[in-house]
């Protein structure tokens, strides 16, 4: 069965062509058949939810997600389930006593939550290889990572195992897996979607957002989650900026993204401007200091020293230790804050010179599980996504370039705060290429 746009599927459910229970059963069957992808950690009471929605629909309910099966990342609370964050240290935690705010919003509009998706341990990573539940496989090439930390959500959407999924993005954790798996991913403006009930990594950058198969579904999910209405914007003649400091990180694949973006945007009469924001080269260091200072603090009360030594993975231990180190050296935190403030000023200035900034989402296609990546590749792996996280700006990744072997790189569109309408309107142009 081909999976429709959410609005079309909803219409079929509301008009009785198919029930939510039937479509939920279809997705559960697909999930079972695709178990090797390992993208779900916990399955929820989806059939029960679907039957309840079907009953409500018969009574006149017309929620914007009526009967639509979706997934959530396993760092978001769902009443009665254990939120593991992909970590051994939380595997035996007590079930959640309440739903997180994002889940409440989805349920209020009639969504059916199929399950909770796999992720890098405590959302610390960009390959989805550090979960205690094992690595997630990229559906485009099972020998490659799906990206992370919201890799399970990106894979569930890409493999058509749900209509949409929630991820969380602190430095690129929605956008980078979206790029690797060929789907759409939005990191909304910081604070536009209520994060209460999500396990915090770094609250100054954490943002819940949707992963979907197309821009219209992304727009709908954002509207439901944020409570905001977006509008269609005429993109003809817009001025699009490209940051020159990113260019040294381009390779053949990412250069193709820029070429394709310029080609299709010029068809709509857009003009281009080269921008400078030198501090983006220090984004990883700002992230390392400020992000990990908050992460260390957030994880401080989880487990005994012995449990933490035994059950936390290397990446988490590394980040917690770095966090404690920089907290003991306030001069490092102060310096990182000053560079952050400079980066925000540079990006503000850049966005005053154009309507939106376009770049590749990731510096490469998805890498293989056994790839020996250079230190530089690791350090700069999130260079295109971290600046928008640090500045709290909205950023959308849309599929842009597909290689002959089927692997993808997304284009990232960044705009001023609360400009999601512009992101969706520009994002649609990429879909129509």
């Amino acid at each position: 069965m081909r999976i429709d746009r959410i609005s079309d599927l909803r219409q079929k459910i509301l008009s009785g062509v198919i029930s939510s229970e039937e479509i939920t059963l279809e997705f559960l069957s697909r999930i079972e058949k695709n178990k090797k992808l390992n993208c779900f950690i916990t399955m929820l009471d989806a059939l029960e939810q679907a039957r309840a929605v079907d009953k409500k629909i018969k009574d006149g309910f017309v929620g914007r997600l009526a009967g639509i099966p979706v997934a959530i990342k396993d760092n978001m609370r769902y009443k009665g389930s254990v939120t593991t964050c992909g970590s051994a240290i939380l595997q035996d935690a007590l079930p959640d006593a309440y739903d997180c705010e994002a889940v409440k919003k989805l349920k209020a509009e009639g969504a059916v939550i199929l399950g909770k998706t796999n992720m890098d341990e405590f959302a610390m990573g960009s390959s989805n290889t550090s979960s205690v539940f094992g690595p997630v496989l990229n559906p485009l090439d099972n020998g490659r990572v799906p990206g992370g930390s919201s890799g399970g959500s990106a894979v569930a959407v890409s493999a058509e195992l749900c209509c949409a999924a929630l991820g969380s993005d602190t430095g690129g954790s929605i956008r980078q897996p979206a790029s690797y798996c060929g789907v759409v991913g939005l990191k909304p403006t910081l604070g536009s979607i209520d994060g209460n009930g999500m396990f915090a990594l770094s609250q100054d950058m954490d943002q819940i957002g949707p992963l979907t198969r197309n821009v219209d579904d992304c727009k709908l999910m954002f509207e439901v989650l944020s409570g905001r209405k977006t509008v269609d914007i005429d993109c003809r003649g817009l001025k699009i900026g490209f940051i020159k400091e990113f260019e040294s990180r381009y390779n053949d694949d990412t250069r193709k993204v820029i070429e394709k973006a310029k080609e299709l945007l010029s068809d709509f009469g857009c003009t281009f401007v080269e921008l400078s924001a030198p501090s983006v080269n220090a984004a990883f260091a700002v992230y390392l200091v400020l992000g990990n200072a908050q992460s260390a603090n957030n994880l401080r009360n989880i487990g005994t020293s012995e449990e933490r030594g035994k059950k936390l993975g290397d990446e988490v231990k590394k980040r917690v230790i770095i966090g404690e180190y920089v907290l003991s050296h306030p001069e490092i935190v102060d310096k990182a804050k000053r560079v952050k403030s400079g980066m925000i000023s540079e990006l503000d200035r850049a966005l005053n010179e154009c309507d939106a900034i376009v770049s590749p989402t990731a510096p490469s296609v998805a890498f293989t599980f056994d790839e020996n990546r250079s230190k530089d590749e690791i350090v700069y792996s999130d260079i295109f996504t971290q600046p928008a996280s640090i500045a709290g700006l909205p950023a959308l990744s849309v599929p842009c370039y597909t290689r002959n072997d089927g692997l993808t790189v997304g284009a990232q569109i960044v705009a001023r705060k609360n400009s999601e309408s512009l992101l969706f309107s520009l994002g649609r142009l990429f879909e129509n290429q």
């Binding site: 220090a282 990883f284 933490r308 290397d314 231990k317 770095i322 403030s341 400079g342 540079e346």
Partner: protein, 48 residues
């Protein structure tokens, strides 16, 4: 970070590293080494 400071920090981080101390020390120090890039950017200049 010196080994001595690392021992203090892992105490604050509440991580019993057991026999894994040297390996973690090297991983953390390698990451901290990349922070020197912050010195290339002058925060004061941005405030004006």
């Amino acid at each position: 970070m010196t080994k001595q400071e690392f021992d203090i920090i892992i105490g604050k981080a509440k991580i019993d590293v057991g026999n894994d101390c040297d390996r973690l020390f090297n991983i953390v120090n390698a990451a901290l080494g990349s922070l020197c890039i912050l010195e290339e950017y002058d925060g004061d200049a941005y405030e004006n």
